[in-house]
Amino acid sequence: MALVRGRPLIGLTVPALLLIGNKALGISSSLRHVCAACVPAGIPFLTYNWRAEIWNLFFVLGIAVGGFLGYQVLGHPDTIAISAETVRDLKAQMGLTDFSGLLPKELFALENLANWKGWVFLVLGGFLVGFGTRYAGGCTSGHAISGLSNLQWVSLVAVIGFFIGGLLMTWVFYPLLF
């Protein structure tokens, strides 16, 4: 079943990129390249030849196309089959009622930008992802998958950091927010 659902294929992206183009998998770099291409503003960290890394931008464009194909074209379940415990906890702790879609509409709908919740989840959340990944030098793909595959101890430090942050948010800050 795991094979059918394509799970190990995520890992195969690592050697595929190496074999095809001698490139290391890492997606958060694309955010830096877009910044460098659009608003370098004389910042040294954003002044480099981003065109040399253009494959990375095509790669993320491909990811978006893959998302479209995988969700809209191939179809999708109305509700992600998460565990009953998670449903119970999210109802009780966060007051969520609508469990359809990839993400909770009650938190991520654009209309939410009119209240603090939308700003915390959409704007602050996205900001922390962009800020943190660059500060850490990579994200789940660059550190967890690519880095750990290559036995980089630095990536292990980063991944432990990811989990400390994630657990803090889930177990400490979420109960404070709701």
Partner: protein, 129 residues
């Protein structure tokens, strides 16, 4: 092309779902641990094979992977990203897949992530590393 395949797998394996990320951080399902774990295992074995056999890439270069360098940002930034990961339920790759799958909020998330990356770049000299 490889990006399309990667995005397709991310979507089909539900890695791009906020629900799945919450389930992971609450230790209520093995789903994501299995996916990330098997991805690392496959990556590990294939990198070892590439290194041991001195495989060359398609354009004939010897395959070289730069070592990741440690600085204090590795864990400070790591924790900051972790906070954002649990909030948004998305790392950068899934953000693009979500956008493609038609989640309107993903556009805001990507813009905010770009703002975060830009702000880090601007403040870089002043931050502890």
């Amino acid at each position: 092309m490889l990006g399309v395949l990667f995005g397709l797998i991310l979507t089909k394996s539900e890695v791009i779902s906020w629900w799945r990320i919450q389930e992971m951080f609450r230790f209520q399902s093995f789903h994501l641990y299995g996916i990330i774990g098997s991805a690392i295992l496959v990556g590990l074995v294939s990198i070892q094979l590439i290194k041991r056999n001195h495989v060359k890439s398609l354009n004939g270069e010897p395959i070289a992977i730069a070592d990741k360098k440690y600085n204090h940002g590795t864990w400070i930034g790591g924790i900051i990203f972790g906070l954002g990961w649990a909030l948004t339920g998305a790392c950068p790759g899934p953000l693009f897949a979500q956008l493609g799958s038609g989640v309107a909020g993903a556009a805001v998330l990507i813009l905010a992530a770009l703002a975060g990356t830009w702000t880090y770049s601007a403040l870089r000299e002043k931050l502890p590393h």
